[in-house]
């Protein structure tokens, strides 16, 4: 058991009481347990695939990380699928945010009737589990040529992303002061102009937060990927990773783990670069 690394230095009164020792020990134990799978992932993704003898490594040995990643990239076709997922994630998240923001603008700021009805109609999409959409979509896609097509996946990702993006954008719109918009309307600006020149600039931070959420959701999707596409040049990245995992014994653990690490990098980077921003946007209003 490691001892407690350094008592907090800022306050001289914090002397190691039994309670404090217990607390710090608990924390160290929890974080060690939590770090273990991550550690194993990193270490074994770095072991050169050729040197891997069949038993997991607990300490780094050699450095084959980039080799493993490039094997996963080419042999397991992670490359094209990462390109696809990037395309789907960026375009569909962006489209969904725009659509959701206009809808939020309409239901919060414009004099539209039946606001509650529209709210629940759009919002209900996040409450339903994805499974409930699968087969009808699959059949309809097969009939219309959208099956195994990039546009088909784009479309379904947009639709899936709208409800939650709408939820975020609507909550944000409720916090905006109505006076600005009213003043602009008094001056005779059209709704279209008010939306693009006033509402969108004001909502930018919430739009970015919603975009990040939806980007991650689309990037991480597996279910639609395996249901609505099959070709290697159409399917998204998690479908390719699942197949790579299916070939676990052929390609060897280092390549599979290297692949998992590779496909996780975009979301991990995004998550941690946006984390500060997330927390502040959670705290911002009110």
């Amino acid at each position: 058991m490691p001892t407690i690394p350094g008592t907090p230095r800022r306050a001289p009164r914090t002397r190691p009481t039994p309670g404090r020792i217990l607390r710090n020990t608990t924390l160290v134990v929890i974080s060690l347990v939590w770090a273990l799978p991550t550690w194993l992932l990193l270490v074994n993704a770095m072991v050169p695939a050729a040197d891997y003898g069949g038993a997991p490594h607990w300490w780094p040995q050699g450095f084959g990380l980039f080799d493993n990643m490039s094997q996963a990239w080419t042999k397991a076709d992670l490359g094209p699928s990462m390109g696809n997922s990037l395309l789907y994630a960026v375009t569909s998240a962006a489209a969904a945010i725009v659509v959701a923001t206009t809808a939020a603008f309409a239901t919060v700021i414009m004099p539209v009737k039946h606001k509650t009805l529209w709210f629940w109609l759009i919002y209900s999409g996040t409450l339903l589990p994805l499974q409930v959409f699968l087969r009808p979509l699959f059949l309809a896609y097969a009939d219309t040529g959208l099956y195994d097509a990039q546009f088909g996946l784009f479309l379904v990702y947009v639709a899936i992303a709208i409800p939650f993006a709408y939820f975020i954008m609507r909550n944000f719109a409720l916090t905006l002061a109505p006076e600005i918009i009213e003043a602009a309307r008094m001056d005779g600006a059209s709704w279209w102009r008010v939306f693009w020149q006033i509402h969108v600039p004001l909502s930018r931070s919430a739009m970015v937060a919603a975009f990040v959420f939806q980007f991650v959701a689309v990037w991480n999707d597996l279910l639609f990927g395996i249901t609505l596409s099959t070709s290697k040049n159409i399917r998204p990245v998690m479908a390719a990773l699942a197949e790579l995992q299916g070939n676990y014994s052929n390609v060897g653990p280092p390549v599979v783990l290297g692949g998992a690490l590779l496909v996780s990098l975009p979301t991990v980077v995004l998550f941690f670069s946006a984390q500060r921003f997330f927390v502040s946007s959670l705290k911002l209003h009110g």
Partner: protein
């Protein structure tokens, strides 16, 4: 409290409507023309979202509900509730229900307790930030990537068994993913490893909204440590707890990727949850009627649980 958390509240629909300067007062003709134009513009702004959601989500949903009342013979006929009766007599589906219940309990209790503990322990800052980072990191991974990592740990010649043997506990080494109910339990643990991070973040936000005065007052009254936590901090975290429970519950119910990549619901369809059973029945066993019934049951459970926690939020004294 909870300025920030109000954002996650299911918005009380349309509180703005009433506060709008009512267009009801005596409309002269010019204003009513303008009102019509406003109405049209509003429809234009709403249309894309409403159309996309209705055609790609709500219509398929209705189709699935409809399909669940028809059987899976060559020429499908009306079957009433036969597909739903499968939950009573099909061993695969009863097992799936059992597993789903285990997932529900596991995904509520573990992230709630661990998330709360970690948030409280790391709230102080300092080096404990590193500990928090370690716990939050897996949340940034996808379910599929988490499954790959845990397969490496849990497979028969994987890291877990190797470690057990190294410590001389050969008796405990086993095929973690091969036997029920062990496989479901370890997958719930893997899921917790990933998803506790979001509970930690939410609890930290909740802790930051606690007014420091209440803590000072408690200290002045002589309450410290455990008692202060139990009587002062915890009651003020109720709203956050409800949100954490709701989110974990719904995520647990919807959990698909992890199970699919780790076991595909197997071996022998023993580790399926409803989310996986639906996929198996529909696309692999080619029983679309049964699959639709599973999807409808899953939807009902998810809606019911969402309603439970949304309703709590909607009560005036929700916090």
């Amino acid at each position: 409290m909870s300025s920030s958390l109000d954002q996650r509240k299911p918005p009380l629909p349309g509180p703005r409507t009433s506060s709008k300067p009512g267009p009801a007062d005596s409309p002269p003709p010019r204003r009513s023309a303008r009102r019509l134009r406003d109405r049209l513009a509003g429809a234009g702004f709403l249309a894309p979202a409403v159309l996309l959601v209705s055609t790609l989500l709500l219509l398929p949903f209705a189709t699935t509900v409809y399909r669940s009342f028809f059987d899976d013979r060559r020429v499908s006929g009306f079957a009433g509730l036969d597909n739903y009766a499968l939950f009573l007599n099909d061993p695969v589906l009863t097992r799936s229900i059992q597993n789903t219940l285990m997932w529900v309990v596991g995904t509520v209790v573990l992230p709630l307790l661990l998330g709360l503990a970690i948030a409280v322990l790391t709230h102080g800052g300092g080096w404990s930030r590193a500990a928090r980072l370690v716990v939050v990191l897996p949340y940034a991974l996808s379910g599929s990537a988490v499954a790959v990592v845990w397969n490496f740990v849990l497979t028969t010649d994987g890291a877990a068994n190797q470690a057990l043997r190294a410590f001389g506990m050969d008796a405990f080494a086993q095929g973690w993913l091969l036997e029920w109910p062990g496989n479901t339990l370890v997958m719930i643990l893997a899921n917790t490893w990933q998803s506790a991070g979001v509970a930690v973040i939410l609890f930290l936000v909740g802790l930051q909204t606690i007014p420091p005065e209440t803590l000072e007052a408690a200290s002045l009254d002589g309450a410290s440590g455990w008692r202060r936590f139990w009587f002062v901090v915890l009651p003020q975290l109720r709203t956050v707890s409800v949100i954490v429970v709701g989110i974990s519950l719904v995520n647990g119910l919807k959990s698909f990727d992890l199970i699919w990549v780790l076991t595909q619901g197997g071996p022998g369809r023993e580790s399926e949850t409803l989310a996986v059973s639906m996929y198996q029945e529909t696309f692999l066993a080619l029983h679309p009627g049964a699959g639709a019934a599973v999807a409808v049951v899953l939807t009902t459970i998810v809606l019911f649980t969402s309603w439970l926690y949304l309703r709590r939020q909607l009560t005036p004294k929700g916090n």
